[in-house]
Symmetry: none
Subunit: 230 residues, 2 copies
DNA sequence: CGCCATCTTGACACAATATTGACGCCTTTT
DNA sequence: AAAAGGCGTCAATATTGTGTCAAGATGGCG
C-alpha cells in the first residue's frame, strides 16, 4: 500500500451528501476535496490532483455524463458515478462516457469503499498534464482554452479536437489515419482533404507564419506532429 | 477497434442462465465459453484464454469469491460477478477478493454489456511498444520515429518502409527480391536499381559515413542486412 | 424562415518524393 | 591487365502529396 494518503474529489451539489461522503472518506483514510458543479469539478481535478472522483449525476450546470466525457478528453482519473436514477439507459450512457462504476442511491458506505478500492488498485497511468504548454503555445485542456503568444485564440470544435489530439501526443507523429479516426471517427480514414483543410485553418490561427510552421509539423507521406523542441 | 472477437467465459451452474448469457453475448459479438463450477472455471481460463469472465457467486463446488481469489493468484483477467444476493457484505468480499464488478440479479443485458466494456477498455490499453534499438540507432515502430546519435531523422515513406523491413529482420540477410517485394510489392522483383537508390538515400541519412556503413551492410550479390554487432 | 458559424467539397498552385538514366568505382573473373 | 557485372551516387523528370482559397452544404438558433 502507498505511504501517502489517497486523494478523493467529491462532486455533488447537495451539502448534506458532501458532508456525509467527507466523513466516510476521511474515516477511511482519504484526503477529501469538494466541488459543487461540473465546472468546479474540472478545475478541481487540475488543482487538487485527486486519485479518484466521486461524481453525482445531477449537477446544476452540466450533466455528470458530460463532465465524464469532458474529463476523458485528457484524464484517466477513476470516476465513480452516484445517482438516484436506476434507469439502465443512464448507467450505460455514464459508463460508456468513461465512468468506471455506477452506484444507485441509496448505497452502503462499505460497498462504495470496496468499489473505490477496485478502481484504485489498477496501476495508476501516468496522468498527462491538464495544461499543455510549449514555448508560446498554451492549451488548457480542462477549460478548452488556447493561447498563443499571449493572445487567446478562438477555435472551432473541429480545430480544437484536432489540436487536442496533437497536444495529447505531443512530439509523436500521428498518421493521417490516426488523426481522422480520433477527430472524425471511424469511416473517415480516407478523407485526407478534411485533414489538410483543418490543419491549414489551425495553422492560420496559431502559427506566426503558416508557411513555416513552428508547432504543427508535416511529416510528408505520413501525418503530422506537434513539435516540442525549439 | 479490435479485429478479432473478444472471448467471454460464462460460469454458472444453471443451464437457463448460461443459455441466456450465451445468446446475449454472442449477439454482442463475443465468442462464448462455458463452465458450470469453480474447478471447470479455473481450467477454462487456462484452456480457452478468455478476455473477460462472468462469474455467478453461487456455485456447487466452491464459492465465487473463492474462485476469484484463486484466479487472482496468477491471472489479471477481468471478472464480473453476478449474484442474487444484494447483501453489502457479499459485494465487499467479492470485490476485495479481486472481482472488477458486481451485479445483482436481475440486471439488464445493456448494463452488463456496458460494464464489460468498462473492464475491457482498461485491459486493452497497455500495449507494449515495439522499439528497436542498437548502438546509436533507435527505430520506434509504434510512433514511426527514427533517431540516430541523439538526433531525430526525417525519412520519406519509402525510406522508412525499407528501414522497417531491415529492422524487423535485424541481423538477417534480406535478398533484393525480398526487400523489393516487401517495400514495393509484388511485380517489382527485378527493379533492383530502386533498391540501390533508396539504400543510398537511407545511408546518407543514418550513417556517419555512407562509404563505410555501420548499420546497413551490403551482402554483395545477395542483398542487405542490418548489422547488430559492434 | 433566414441568419450565422462551421463543415465539406472542388480547384489549383506548389512542394516533396519516386523513378529513371547516366556515369564512375570497385571487385571478381579470365 | 582488361573486361564485366554489381554497386553507389548524382541529377533530371515524372508522379504524387500538400496547402490554400473560395464556393456550396449543413445545422443550430432566434
Amino acid at each position: 500500500m502507498s505511504e501517502t494518503q489517497l486523494r478523493a474529489l467529491v462532486v455533488d451539489d447537495e451539502r448534506a451528501i458532501r458532508r456525509f461522503l467527507r466523513t466516510s472518506l476521511t474515516a477511511n483514510g482519504y484526503v477529501v476535496f469538494e466541488a459543487t458543479n461540473g465546472g468546479e469539478a474540472l478545475e478541481a481535478v487540475v488543482r487538487d490532483r485527486p486519485d479518484v472522483m466521486i461524481l453525482d449525476l445531477g449537477l446544476p450546470d452540466m450533466d455528470g455524463t458530460q463532465v465524464t466525457a469532458r474529463l476523458r478528453e485528457w484524464s484517466h482519473i477513476p470516476i465513480i458515478v452516484l445517482s438516484v436514477r436506476d434507469q439502465e439507459g443512464d448507467k450505460i450512457a455514464a459508463l460508456d462516457a468513461g465512468a468506471d462504476d455506477y452506484l444507485t442511491k441509496p448505497f452502503g458506505v462499505g460497498e462504495l469503499m470496496a468499489r473505490m478500492r477496485v478502481v484504485l488498485r489498477r496501476v495508476a497511468h501516468p496522468e498527462p498534464e491538464p495544461v499543455f504548454a510549449t514555448r508560446d503555445l498554451v492549451v488548457d485542456l480542462a477549460r478548452r482554452l488556447v493561447r498563443v503568444r499571449g493572445h487567446e485564440v478562438q477555435l472551432t470544435p473541429t480545430e480544437y479536437d484536432l489540436l487536442r489530439v496533437l497536444v495529447t501526443h505531443a512530439g509523436k507523429v500521428l498518421t493521417h489515419q490516426q488523426l481522422l479516426r480520433q477527430v472524425w471517427g471511424l469511416g473517415y480514414e480516407g478523407e485526407s482533404h478534411l485533414l489538410r483543410v483543418n490543419i491549414s485553418n489551425l495553422r492560420q490561427k496559431i502559427e506566426r507564419n503558416s508557411a513555416r510552421p513552428e508547432y504543427i509539423i508535416t511529416e510528408p507521406g505520413v501525418g503530422y506532429r506537434l513539435r516540442l523542441e525549439i
